[in-house]
Symmetry: C2
Subunit: 556 residues, 2 copies
């Protein structure tokens, strides 16, 4: 099989003007960024405000394993399949982060014959949105440190600045730093740290803002830390909400590209789902829903992370709900959840599959809790045996669940036709409104306990003494009505990455609580999860090159 | 008078496709970035290799003062004036850095009726080149720290890593930092610092590379620090030259925009001239010379900084030389060099002017040393008196120098017609080859002494003990044949910003010498110059805003 980049080079893209024309966009609605990318104007939403919305299909998965589930690939393939059935489908995805691209993944734009293109641009700097977010975030840090250095009129306590710097890279050495060293001309020394851009509140704000004015208001409300008197300090007090809005003005516009089969795809915003809220931007999803009869969108990692936050945070901010959910699983990953290691995956093992299926079952139950219909998509791999596939489909049938075996990696949309038909049917079965996991009026603890017990299946929740102190402050400052953005390992339903399958009776430990007042959620850090990843010993970047003819290798 | 942004909004841009068409570019030669910006393909240079080059006009100035000289404005106005005379002119400028834009300047794209457009895009993220450079630079830092953390096979001494991180912001708190704190999972602690992106070797490499393969070779040669055994370590040993080239692939393409009078302008690369080599990219200048009969290009700050490095570094890397030089001066700035302070500038003072003219005289002598013709452009301001203007023009005539009073800020190209005519004539007066200030075969000390005495007018050069040690290492590792990139205050011919006018007999203190092996020069830090600026008490960003209709305010 060819590599993703070879398949990408071998495919025929349409000029982005044609993709835009097929969506009935006028010249005022979009701007080209090269011949195959475009930025969409926010006036599209104003213009089409009274038009009906397309059906929204949310793709999620079981807890990921090193075997890979191919959720993005299934999302792209499903969009292509819907188009092959002559349904007007638009795909809505997140922008990849350079951290994992350079680190472990080497690219994140689907795979095989279900990719978004131009994959090399999407995987690298794309239209610069993440860089704009990095810049706005770090400009605010510079403004804060400058304020402290130049007289500190607001009495900001340098020990209590909570706003961190960011880079869109995996760089463990920046997790904890001391800045402002070197004497009086070099600022005020204080402890600081860098998050990866995709874990930042700035990213979340861009993704959850409804328009430019909402963006500015959210930016002005950002809580950056405390004064010596322990009063919270906001961006509005510093006076930089206008310049930060300016820095994010173009990044607020969703990006239009296409798949390998010329299905339109809107790629915009890129929060991670383990350490952030994990969904593409609200503006992108809303725009896609105006332009397509079906929107296929993805939330990161398993249903415990991305989908939970999509449903409890993003749908609240946007005032919509999905029509159905696709849960992606693979035989390989389920066998790993059943206890096999990576070297044993080539062996047929219905036993391991049967044990691992418990992970899938929990995520199915979670979607039912939300009162949403779902279809299970089994992303077929070459070594899956007939016996294993049959066992899994029979099991799904025994649970009364719709299931489809997809081959979108090898066959593109054609490999997802059956899934597409079942998804269309599933949208029609939705009855009544979606149910949230918690009410905003619940206390912060209650909300966290409900997520942990109902979505993760935890026995109990423990708050560290630090988290308890922070809880008091959050209540004191009136942030108790916000939804919760859990930061948790993606590898387990619990906060311990080694607990695979469906663990029971475990404890979720909340070690830190911070208010993202601009993004409008409380971030709860659990277990050992870190908001700045590290690089592996041999980063994916080692394989990357640009040949003399300009061709790229090593992005896959 | 309207603000720059108001004038910009009031002007009529042509679609960039028309500007490209006027330059006889085909569709394969360029890619749109929005409707008014384009990236130019490197194939233009291949295609036009055998075509003659246009005349190259280098704009420089006296030492800047808080009164401002308007060098970019004159550069743009001169290009417009040449076009009004039906000469095919292309302007070649640097990309503004967000550091000064957010900090002190609020924009850097010319001014009044001599601006490049769209000024708000050019002043903000533009086409993302600076962000790509920031990312490549910091990816390398992450790769270095990861290598040390993961076993340190190359024996890199964490105390002797010379490669620094960067951000394209003014942020004094990042000048000296400690990274890798927080325990074993958070890297190896070491001292580090951030430069502003535009002072980085990564920026210089992009600006001096002839093509993508030259870029990769330069990247592979970057010297990042020493091993415990004091052997130098390069990027090639780490193996990341391919991925860094990939990150810079699109940033290597020059950007095409237009002026307020639709004169084509290529804006690419943005090294500062006080702490870097201060010229736009080689690829941009070469492309402009193939597309225009006249190229008007600018080197940063006074002739002691940008022009010296343009002539001794950039022309060597590119194998070309300018045909004439324009030296920009203002009555106001010359009066400040004559001892007036900012509040006294409204007073007529031929005395102060006469004293301050010594600064202009030194820069004229410098250009003569290079064996280049020049024209003096007096950028007229509203409060300049007839007596002052007359004194200055008479003085120029007494020196046998061509001089022209320009009003390009208020009148656009029309205000620079006389200058344009004199510049065209001046190009024809060039005789013989340009003379460099030093030969590459000179020792590092000799080269620095020649720059200091001949270009700055210094009495002597002192090397600190640190600099002396570094000198020994540079010689030992065979870097003594490289040209010199001086880092010096822009405000004085000396390394003391308070010595205005034309100081004599001063000492230049070299306190640090580092090899930029990829960029192919030695950086010599003099005086107190810093490679990461700070923000003023009230940053320009405080005035910036985006109004409800999407209009920008506060960029001027």
């Amino acid at each position: 099989m060819n590599s993703d980049i070879d398949i990408a080079y071998g495919s025929q893209m349409k000029p982005i003007s044609e993709i835009a024309k097929d969506l009935l966009l006028t010249e005022q609605d979009w701007e080209p960024y090269g011949h195959y990318k475009a930025k969409l104007s926010q006036q599209i939403l104003d213009k089409l405000a009274d038009e009906p919305n397309g059906k929204i299909i949310l793709t999620t998965s079981i807890n990921p394993t090193p075997a890979g589930e191919g959720k993005s690939t299934v999302t792209v393939g499903l969009g292509q399949a819907l188009n092959q059935l002559n349904k007007k489908a638009v795909i809505a995805l997140r922008e990849p982060s350079l951290g994992p691209t350079m680190g472990v993944k080497g690219g994140a734009a689907g795979g095989g014959y279900s990719q978004v293109l131009p994959m090399e641009d999407i995987n690298l700097h794309f239209t610069g949105d993440l860089h704009a977010i990095t810049t706005a975030n770090n400009a605010l840090s510079a403004f804060i440190d400058n304020h402290i250095h130049q007289g500190n009129e607001l009495h900001i306590d340098p020990r209590r600045v909570e706003w961190k710097r960011v880079l869109d890279l995996n760089d463990r050495s920046l997790r904890e730093v001391v800045v402002g060293l070197g004497g009086a001309s070099k600022g005020v020394p204080r402890q600081d740290g860098f998050n990866i851009t995709v874990a930042s509140e700035m990213m979340a704000i861009l993704c959850l803002a409804n328009d430019l004015q909402d963006l500015k208001e959210r930016l002005s409300r950002i809580f950056i830390g405390y004064t010596y008197e322990r009063d919270p300090v906001t961006v509005k007090q510093l006076g930089f909400e206008g310049s930060l809005t300016l820095l994010l003005k173009n990044a607020m516009k969703p990006n239009l590209v296409q798949t390998i089969e010329n299905t339109p795809a809107i790629i915009h915003g890129g929060p991670f789902a383990n350490i952030a809220h994990g969904c593409n931007s609200l503006v992108a999803t809303k725009t896609a829903a105006k332009l397509g009869d079906f929107v296929v969108t993805e939330a990161g990692f398993g249903a415990d992370l991305g989908a939970e936050k999509f449903l409890n945070i993003k749908t609240r901010a946007g005032g919509f709900e999905p029509d159905t959910v696709v849960i992606v699983a693979t035989i390989r990953a389920l066998k790993m959840h059943g206890g096999l290691n990576k070297n044993q995956l080539h062996e047929e093992s219905v036993d391991a599959l049967e044990r691992g299926i418990s992970n899938l079952k929990k995520h199915m139950e979670t979607i039912v809790q939300f009162n949403l219909p779902f279809v299970i998509a089994i992303n077929q791999f070459p070594l899956d045996t007939e016996k294993e596939l049959k066992f899994l489909t029979n099991w799904c049938a025994s649970q009364g669940a719709e299931v489809s075996i997809v081959e979108v990696f090898a066959k593109g949309g054609k490999g997802g036709i059956d899934l597409a038909k079942k998804v269309i049917k599933s949208c029609a079965t939705k009855t009544g409104y979606m149910k949230y996991t918690y009410e905003l009026e619940n206390s912060i603890e209650e909300k966290i306990v409900k997520i942990a017990t109902n979505v993760y299946g935890a026995g109990r929740v423990e708050f560290t003494s630090t988290a308890k102190k922070q809880l008091m402050l959050l209540n004191k400052h009136g942030h108790d009505q916000l939804p919760i953005c859990m930061a948790k390992t993606q590898y387990s339903l619990s906060d311990d990455p080694t607990l695979i399958g469906r663990p029971h009776g475990f404890t979720i430990t909340v070690r830190q609580l911070t208010a993202s007042v601009g993004a409008e959620f409380i971030v709860a850090l659990t277990g050992d999860v870190m908001t700045m990843p590290g690089l592996p010993k041999k980063p994916a970047a080692l394989n990357m090159d640009v040949k003399e003819d300009g061709r790229i290798t090593g992005l896959f």
